[in-house]
Symmetry: C2
Subunit: 335 residues, 2 copies
């Protein structure tokens, strides 16, 4: 026997309209009501004819979040927040990993998957404004400042200011030979360029010179890269009294390399990161960092997408800014 | 002007058949050829009529991976491997987060999303065999040993044996008061039950008694839970000389709590975890652990799904076992 909407409503003790709202992914259903309806759907093995309905409405109830790498904890934590914020709109989130490859990002941005998804939140590493010009694909929100003169909605944080503030904190500790770890070529990543700019701003504001030998590159930003970069600095005879790493995983690798070299943190070398991932709160020493408001980044991105899906697609692109704060822990503690 | 398959083939310098293979997600296309075709698709803004085609074939080219929590690094690392293995079949992976909630897992398993996906890989925390009985939904592969007498294909590792071996390693170091951190109620998680069983087996094999006061519960397995569990043990006057944590994040929290209590690892207390996440390789001290072959778990799961999608759906469910190995690092180093 094939059950109907009416049967589900009866079983769940709600109106047919409410069941319809749940099945259609509407927002204004109380979580306990939603749970009851979902229970009834499972118990009766009710199957709405979704494919047909979605083709009619032109909506799938699914959005995609595309990030370079899920095993960079920042993106995994961000993904959790996006899933939560999307759930409030009744959306399922498809998570995709681009590997930061430009071709992958272009295929996504060009809407090749738009038969599956209603909208896309993309954290690009390699995409350029030219790639986005003239696209009429899936509604899209970009994360980060990778692209100047961005033609799409996006959510950013002020990377230059944040990097400047955490560098100034190291200067205020009395450190003078502050290394920067994570520099990249322009085509590798915008975050690196912006954070390096903030670092230079802070040095300049304090009257400290910019010393290229204190800047270490890292084309990927994993722990191993941070460890290798610090080993490289030490091997070449550079003796920093502080290290600003462009993300926390680099910084956790740096902590390890400093430990192996017999240097104490923060006594010999203070260390700061960027992202405030959970690992840094439990490392020994605990890690000072810039904490972008990841929940807010996710909420703003979802809001932009909802506005775009619900409103006029020709409205000019908007840029929203999420806040950040500095978090001081043991790795920069004063003696 | 609307471009056709032929135009893409011309632009990419390949045959129409090859373009069709790329668009249809076939496996046997060389990566550089695939990239060239994707470039041409983007340049020409070619749009295959995918919805119609998929309805005809009854396939979407998308599979789902549902895990309890993406910000548990084990699941993020596993997700990366699943995305890679799926790409070899031309599949896109939709990643979903269940929060380990039984209702969420049931809705997924019941096939409510089967208009979107061809198959599901599910790592269940709360689902029971009863929930799966009589399901005729989306083809599904389960990860882990949560469900006894499982009616679906699944990939497991031998949790009892692995936990026993890492506990025996602690015993061989001469440790006698070995705490276990991460115990859970039966309805919370099967991994906890199996790893506790392995721990007890090893104690018994060594002629050591089982001491309930050395076992600490943790209903979640994050760093904070591991730190809280160890603080709890120490506060209640329990003085372990080793700690076996049921995953690495618990162990990283335990390392932190021991450090804060002024205890040295491994001199005063040896610590071992489970999962071999990247964090443990860079922690200070580096973390000894059980390393399940996550790449193999992913490959086997994808293979089971491919077999199920390509073959007879009534073939009895299969269980495949992925290997693991022990990794000894500083946290259990002998003096």
């Amino acid at each position: 026997m094939r059950h109907r909407l009416k049967d589900v409503a009866e079983r769940a003790g709600v109106s047919v309209k409410t069941v319809s709202n749940v099945v259609n992914g509407h927002v204004h259903v109380r979580p306990d009501t939603r749970a009851r309806v979902e229970e009834a759907i499972v118990e009766l093995n009710y199957r709405p004819n979704l494919s047909a309905r979605h083709l009619r409405k032109g909506r799938t109830g699914v959005i995609a979040l595309a990030v370079p790498e899920l095993d960079i904890p920042y993106f995994a934590e961000l993904a959790r927040h996006v899933v939560s914020a999307a759930a409030e709109h009744g959306w399922t989130v498809l998570i995709d990993q681009t590997g930061g490859r430009r071709d992958q990002e272009r295929v996504l941005a060009s809407g090749i998957t738009d038969h599956l998804i209603d909208g896309l939140i993309l954290s690009p590493l390699a995409l350029t404004a030219a790639d986005l010009a003239g696209l009429d694909g899936t509604p899209m929100v970009l994360l980060g400042e990778r692209i100047e003169h961005c033609p799409a909605d996006r959510v950013v944080i002020d990377n230059v200011a944040a990097a400047g503030e955490i560098t100034s904190h190291l200067i205020q500790l009395g450190r003078r030979r502050i290394a920067a770890v994570g520099a990249q070529r322009t085509d590798e990543g915008a975050s690196a360029r912006l954070r390096l700019a903030g670092y230079r701003d802070a040095l300049r504001a304090a009257g400290l010179g910019y010393d290229q030998t204190l800047v270490a590159s890292a084309s990927a930003w994993h722990r191993a890269d941070g460890a290798a970069a610090v080993r490289g600095l030490l091997t070449s005879g550079v003796r920093p009294d502080a290290v600003f790493c462009f993300n926390d995983t680099l910084a956790l690798g740096a902590l390890r390399a400093l430990h192996e070299a017999g240097l104490r943190v923060p006594e010999d070398v203070a260390v700061a990161g960027f992202d405030d991932i959970e690992d840094g709160r439990f490392a020994t020493p605990t890690l000072s960092t810039v904490a972008p408001d990841k929940e807010q980044v996710a909420r703003l991105a979802i809001q932009l997408l909802a506005d775009r899906l619900g409103g006029d697609p020709t409205v000019p692109a908007r840029e929203l800014r999420a806040p950040y704060r500095l978090v001081f822990r043991e790795s920069t503690r004063t003696r």
